[in-house]
Subunit: 183 residues, 2 copies
DNA sequence: CTAGAAGTGGACACGATGTCCACTTCTAGG
DNA sequence: CCTAGAAGTGGACATCGTGTCCACTTCTAG
């Protein structure tokens, strides 16, 4: 069980980190910043969160769980019941919303290699793989990561910020992808 | 024009960097390592290459140029003449070969955000975009980056190393993608 | 041969990381 | 209520990589 002061400090850390990430962008926030803003020592911070990514993951956790729940037990087309291509398109749309809402967090958490090591990626992977299997696509394993690649935060942020594309335009492109491969 | 000693040092730096990248993996090589191995001072190194990525780009440059040439003026299906879907599949296959041959370099050079800022990405982007236009795909702009996303070094290396997929399997998945979207 | 431009190298200051440990604060059990 | 010791805390410290700066050396054009 968790001690009372420990719980209080965890809440402080998460709050402070959320503010800082939003204010300065995750990559520009140091562990020291977070510790100071939370009114906590370095040691305390490192005890629970060995790096920035793990904090961002913790902050993201709740939002991702909501989507995961919808995928498993929600209404179609996100949940079970619709055709695989339709479900994939709906999943893409939901992920775009998530990226749009939490861009700064996601950019801090799931950038580069570490993206694949989060539990969330494993979940998305299993979901999309099951859609491929349902659509009788041969050799789904390699295709799964290919279909998830456009959801990498760097890609999305490049499209939005670097290229000035709208989230609706990106969603439409992803729908086309879903229908092309599964439809 | 370039002074003789400068040219000699540039060659030394590139040689040393290639060896180190191959031996230890690009991310584990420090600027200092390279300077020492090249028998050159820090200042000299930084004068030309402000960071690891720029060295890797220089090393990659030649290989990428060969492929670019083939895309512009080579035989079909890589070069002009074949159907867009076929050309895209051929491009994917060539990129997989390139990733396979120079994985360690590419991982050092074009990782994360910086991938989009290299000249090479601009070239691939223009090429794929022209294929989309040739196939009369509506709103190609958002789709371009989506189709290039699976070629991110992190994705490829995750598939190969993390998931144990074969390069042939990945190529097949990408062919399916090309045919689904353009075919 | 020489003047000055171009190039060199390593010392330096800085900033971030992660560890370590003496101290403080909790809480379970008597 | 009190106390023992486990759990948690905080900040000093050592380490490492980065990028800059500048006195010195080497090249080359005239």
């Amino acid at each position: 069980m968790e001690r009372a002061d420990a719980a209080r400090n965890r809440a402080r850390i998460l709050d402070a980190a959320a503010d800082l990430f939003a204010a300065k962008g995750a990559p520009n926030v140091t562990m020291d910043d977070i510790a100071k803003a939370a009114g906590v020592g370095r040691g305390t911070l490192y005890r629970r969160y060995p790096d920035r990514a793990s904090i961002a993951v913790a902050l993201l956790d709740e939002h991702e769980r909501v989507l995961q729940e919808k995928l498993l037990r929600g209404e179609p087309p996100l949940g079970p019941g619709a055709a695989p291509a339709e479900r994939l398109a709906a999943f893409y749309a939901a992920m775009v919303d998530l990226l749009e809402a939490h861009a700064h967090l996601v950019l801090g958490a799931e950038t580069g290699r570490s993206r694949f090591e989060t539990g969330a990626y494993g979940f998305w992977r299993a979901h999309v793989r099951s859609l491929l299997v349902a659509a009788s696509v041969p050799a789904p394993d390699a295709l799964v990561d290919v279909l998830l690649a456009p959801l990498a935060p760097e890609v999305y942020s490049y499209q939005r910020t670097g290229k000035g594309l709208s989230s609706a335009g990106i969603t439409a492109a992803l729908r086309r992808l879903a229908e092309g491969v599964l439809g």
